[in-house]
C-alpha cells in the first residue's frame, strides 16, 4: 500500500497566519498550508501521509487509548490526537492524557533530530504536562526511529527533503 | 527476637556520646553497635574511646558490634578500618571472641574475610538476593541487615529461596530516621556556607539531624553531614507479628537524642508481651522527634504511613 503521492498538494490553501521571525522559512511554507480549523485533522492527515508508514511498526502499546495534545505556543495552535492501529486520529475533545508545549521552530527541530528534548526542557522551551511516563515513552519511541527509515518510507521525493531541512534548520 | 541498638548516626559531644552508651549498658537491649559510620571528620571519640566503650559494654553482658565507615575515600579511612579489624582479630586470638564487626562496604567485608573474622553484613552492602547473601555467609557473615528499602515480600522471598544460607540471622532496621543516602559532599557544611574541610563541626548543633522541608512546608528529609536521612521516623512496632512471620531475628533501633531509653523500654515491653503492638506503636509516636512512616515494609514510598494495614498471615 502506497500513501498518497503528495499529501501536501491536496491540503486546502488557507489564509496565512503571521509567523514569528524565528520560524524557519521552509517550514513556515509547510505550516501555512495547514488549515487553521480544525488543525488537528490536518495534522493527523499530514502525519499519516508523511510518516505513518515508518512509524506503524513501532510498539505503540503505551499510547493505546491515550489522547495527546501538542500546543504550538507561538502559533496558538492546539493539536489533539490519538494513535490507533491504522494511524493518527484527530480528536475533537480537548481532553488529553499528556500535553507537549513548544514553539513551532522547536517542535520542528525536535522532529528533525537537531535538538535534544532534555536540553529544551532545561531551557524551559519544552513542557510536558499530564502523564509524564506516557510523554517519555512516546519521546523515546520516536527517538528510536532512524531518520533515514522515515525518509525512505515517505511519499516519493519527500524523503529527500529531510536532510535538506536539517541543514536549513541547524 | 533480639533487640539491637544501632550505631549512633549523629555527631554528639563527647560527654553526650559517652553518657548515652554508658546508660545503654543498663538498657534491656541484647546488642549495641559502636563506632562512627558517617563521617571521618568526626573525631571527638577516637578509636581507642570506642574500644574502651566496647569493653565496658561487653563486660555488662551486651553483644558489641563495631560498625565501619560507610563511605571510604582516603588512605587514612582505610588505615582506621584496618586498625579496628586488627583489634578485634587480636581479641579473638586472645580467646575473647565476643565482639563483632559490621561491614558497611565491600572493602571491610574483604578485610574481615581475610582475617577470618565472622561479621555482620550492614545495610549498605546492598544485599537484595539470596545468592549475594550466601556468598557473604561463605565469607563469614553470620548476621545481615537488609537495605532499609527492602519490603516484606522481598524478605520473605529471600528466606524461601533454596540459596538462603542456613543459620543466617536477619536484623531489620525497625525504628529511627532512615539513612537514605551518602555523598562526598557535606550538606550541613553547605547549609552554613562552609566547605567540608572547614565545617566547624556544625553537626554538633543538630543532634537529630537538620530538617529539610519542601517549599510547601512539608518536612521531608533530614541532613546529617554527608548523610541524608528521612525526616520521618521509621516505626514498625505495630507490625511485630509480620516481622516474626517474615523471620526477622533482631530489630534495630536507631539512636535519637532524647527519650531513647523509653523507646527501648517500649520495644522491650512489646517483645515481652507486656504491650500490644498497637499500644507500643501509639506510645512510640509520642517519643519520636517527627511523625512516623512504614511505607518501605509495604513495598511503597518509604515516607508512607499505613498503620491500619496490618497483615498477619504471610501468603505462602
Amino acid at each position: 500500500m502506497n500513501p498518497p503521492a503528495s499529501i501536501l498538494a491536496r491540503l486546502p490553501a488557507l489564509p496565512r497566519p503571521a509567523l514569528p521571525s524565528t520560524f524557519p522559512p521552509v517550514l513556515a511554507r509547510v505550516v501555512d498550508r495547514l488549515p487553521s480549523r480544525p488543525p488537528s485533522f490536518a495534522f493527523a492527515a499530514a502525519a499519516n501521509g508523511l510518516a505513518w508508514r515508518a512509524l506503524r511498526e513501532l510498539d505503540w502499546s503505551a499510547a493505546r487509548g491515550k489522547r495527546f495534545h501538542a500546543r504550538v505556543r507561538d502559533l496558538g495552535l492546539n493539536l489533539y490526537f490519538s494513535v490507533r492501529a491504522d494511524g493518527f486520529h484527530a480528536e475533537s475533545s480537548q481532553r488529553a492524557d499528556v500535553t507537549f508545549t513548544a514553539s513551532a521552530a522547536d517542535f520542528a527541530r525536535l522532529a528533525l533530530r537537531l535538538e535534544d528534548p532534555d536540553t529544551l526542557f532545561f531551557n524551559r522551551r519544552l513542557r510536558i504536562e499530564g502523564d509524564t511516563d506516557l510523554g517519555l515513552a512516546v519521546k523515546n519511541l520516536l527517538d528510536a526511529v532512524e531518520l533515514e527509515s522515515i525518509a525512505a518510507a515517505m511519499p516519493a521525493g519527500l524523503g529527500q527533503v529531510i536532510p535538506h531541512l536539517r541543514r536549513l534548520a541547524a | 527476637m533480639k533487640l539491637t541498638l544501632g550505631p549512633l548516626l549523629y555527631y554528639w559531644s563527647r560527654e553526650d556520646t559517652l553518657a548515652f552508651h554508658e546508660a545503654a549498658a543498663g538498657w534491656p537491649v541484647d546488642t549495641i553497635h559502636l563506632g562512627e559510620t558517617v563521617c571521618s571528620r568526626r573525631h571527638l571519640l577516637r578509636l581507642a574511646d570506642w574500644l574502651e566503650l566496647a569493653d565496658k559494654l561487653a563486660a555488662a553482658g551486651k553483644q558489641v558490634v563495631l560498625s565501619t565507615q560507610t563511605l571510604i575515600e582516603s588512605e587514612s579511612d582505610l588505615k582506621a578500618l584496618r586498625k579496628l579489624i586488627a583489634w578485634v582479630a587480636e581479641r579473638r586470638a586472645g580467646g575473647q571472641s565476643d565482639i563483632l564487626v559490621e561491614a558497611n562496604e565491600w572493602g571491610a567485608a574483604r578485610l574481615l574475610a581475610q582475617a577470618g573474622l565472622s561479621f555482620v553484613a550492614g545495610p549498605t552492602l546492598n544485599v537484595y538476593n539470596p545468592d549475594t547473601l550466601a556468598m557473604l555467609a561463605d565469607m563469614g557473615a553470620r548476621r545481615w541487615v537488609p537495605p532499609v528499602e527492602m519490603p516484606r515480600d522481598m524478605l520473605v522471598a529471600m528466606r524461601a529461596s533454596a540459596a538462603w544460607p542456613v543459620g543466617m540471622e536477619t536484623e531489620l532496621f525497625t525504628y529511627g530516621r532512615l539513612p537514605l543516602a551518602f555523598s562526598a559532599r557535606c550538606f550541613t557544611a553547605r547549609h552554613y556556607n562552609l566547605q567540608k574541610d572547614d565545617c566547624q563541626f556544625r553537626c554538633l548543633d543538630h543532634p537529630d539531624g537538620l530538617t529539610l522541608s519542601t517549599r510547601e512546608g512539608e518536612d521531608f528529609l533530614a541532613i546529617n553531614g554527608i548523610q541524608t536521612q528521612s525526616a520521618r521516623v521509621m516505626s514498625l512496632a505495630h507490625r511485630l507479628d509480620e516481622l516474626r512471620a517474615a523471620g526477622v531475628d533482631a530489630i534495630r533501633l536507631s539512636p535519637q537524642a532524647r527519650q531513647m531509653a523509653r523507646v527501648v523500654e517500649t520495644f522491650r515491653a512489646l517483645l515481652d508481651g507486656a504491650l500490644t503492638p498497637v499500644a507500643a506503636s501509639e506510645r512510640l509516636t509520642r517519643l519520636m522527634p517527627a511523625p512516623a512512616c512504614d511505607g518501605y515494609w509495604l513495598g511503597e514510598a518509604g515516607m508512607a504511613w499505613h498503620p491500619e494495614r496490618i497483615q498477619e498471615e504471610i501468603p505462602s
Binding site: 524551559r124 527517538d143 | 560507610t70 571510604i72 582516603s74 562496604e105 528499602e149 522471598a157 517549599r215
Partner: protein, 336 residues
C-alpha cells in the same frame, strides 16, 4: 596489548543514539535491555534482541566496543530475568557487561567464564580494597568509580590495583554515592537499585501554575521554577528546599558534571576510560557530546602539556547541560 587510555565511552538509549556515538568517534558505547536489569529503566528506552544485534553489528564494523549495563540488583522473585540478561549479553557478543551485584557476578563467572566483567558505578566501590574484592572473587577488569573522590584519591586507588579505572567525564551529576541513594524510593517507592530508575516517569508531574512550573515526585514538591529560571531533572537532589529560614538548592543545583579541564591529569594518572552520562537522552545529544569529547581526547593525547578545553567545546557542552551549568564535582575538593 597496551593498556587502555582515555577510551571514550558513550551512552546509547536507542539504536539511533548508538549509531550517533559510533559515527561521531566513541571508542565504546554502553547500553541496556528494556527492563529493570539496568539503571536507565525508562519507558520506551533501551534495546531488545533485534536492535541489540544490529547495534553490535554496527559498532563492531567500525571497531567500537559494546558494553552492556546490567547494573541493578537482582531480586529473589525475578532472579531469572537477570540471569537471562547475562546469557543474552554473552551470546550476543557484547565486549563486556557492567555489573553491580556480587551474586550476579558469580552467575556470570560460572556460566560464561569468557565474559569480561566491569564493576558498575552502582557497585559503590570507592576504595581499592573494595575493588580488589571484586577482582579477587570475579576477576573484574575495570571499575567505574562513583563521583565522590578527588583526583588525588583516584590516584591512590590506581596505585593499589591493576583493575582499569573508568571515570565519569560529562553529564548528569549524581551528588550521592551511586548505589547508596534511596531518596527516590523514599518519595515514590522506586529506587535505582531495584527499579532501575531515579524519579521514574510514572511518579513525576510537571505543572504550570500561577506561581511557576512545579515539579513533583509522587506529590512531593521538588521545585517551582519562575519563567526565566533554567530547570533541572526531576530528581530530589536537584530540588529547592527549606532548611531553617532559607530556601535554596540544599543538596545541589541543577548542573552537569564536566571534567574536561582535568583531562591532562587523567591521562597522567592512566585513567582507562572516560564515561559520558546520558542513556536517557536523544541521539542529538549523543552526537553533540561525543563529537566534542572525541576532539578533546585526541587533543590531550597529542599534546597533554598544552591542552586547554576549547571555549567552543565548553559552550557546546554547557548548551546541553542541566541548568546550562557545569561543575567539576568531587574531583575538585572545595565542591565537597
Amino acid at each position: 596489548m597496551s593498556p587502555s587510555l582515555l577510551e571514550l565511552i558513550c551512552p546509547a538509549g536507542s539504536l539511533p543514539a548508538l549509531k550517533a556515538a559510533v559515527d561521531h568517534g566513541a571508542d565504546g558505547v554502553y547500553l541496556g535491555l528494556r527492563d529493570n536489569t539496568n539503571a536507565r529503566n525508562f519507558s520506551g528506552l533501551n534495546f531488545d534482541t533485534k536492535t541489540l544485534a544490529e547495534g553490535i553489528r554496527h559498532a563492531h564494523a567500525k571497531g567500537v566496543k559494546v558494553l552492556m549495563a546490567l547494573n541493578t540488583f537482582p531480586q529473589p522473585a525475578t532472579l531469572a530475568r537477570w540471569h537471562t540478561a547475562i546469557d543474552t549479553a554473552a551470546t550476543s557478543g557484547v565486549d563486556a557487561v557492567i555489573l553491580a551485584d556480587p551474586g550476579l557476578m558469580a552467575y556470570a563467572v560460572k556460566n560464561h567464564p569468557g565474559l569480561r566483567l566491569h564493576l558498575s558505578v552502582q557497585g559503590s566501590a570507592t576504595s581499592y580494597e573494595a575493588i580488589e574484592f571484586y577482582r579477587e572473587r570475579f576477576g573484574i577488569r575495570r571499575a567505574v568509580l562513583p563521583r565522590v573522590l578527588s583526583l588525588a584519591q583516584v590516584e591512590n586507588v590506581i596505585a593499589h590495583t591493576d583493575v582499569e579505572i573508568e571515570l565519569f567525564g560529562f553529564g548528569g551529576l549524581c551528588v550521592m554515592v551511586e548505589g547508596r541513594c534511596l531518596l527516590s524510593s523514599y518519595a515514590c517507592g522506586d529506587s535505582p537499585n531495584t527499579f532501575g530508575a531515579c524519579s521514574p516517569g510514572h511518579a513525576v508531574r510537571w505543572e504550570q501554575t500561577p506561581k511557576g512550573m512545579e515539579t513533583r515526585l509522587n506529590g512531593v514538591l521538588i521545585d517551582r521554577y519562575a519563567d526565566h529560571e533554567k530547570a533541572g531533572y526531576p530528581t530530589l537532589c536537584k530540588g529547592r528546599f527549606a532548611v531553617g529560614a532559607e530556601t535554596y538548592y540544599a543538596l545541589e543545583e541543577p548542573t552537569s558534571l564536566n571534567s574536561m579541564e582535568l583531562l591532562p591529569e587523567m591521562a597522567r594518572l592512566g585513567i582507562a576510560a572516560i564515561k559520558i552520562e546520558g542513556r536517557q537522552r536523544s541521539p542529538a545529544y549523543v552526537a553533540q557530546v561525543t563529537k566534542v569529547w572525541r576532539a578533546a581526547i585526541d587533543a590531550v593525547k597529542k599534546a597533554p602539556e598544552t591542552f586547554q578545553p576549547h571555549p567552543a567545546w565548553m559552550a557546546e557542552l554547557n548548551k546541553v547541560s542541566e541548568g546550562s551549568m557545569h561543575t567539576l564535582g568531587a574531583y575538585y575538593r572545595p565542591w565537597k
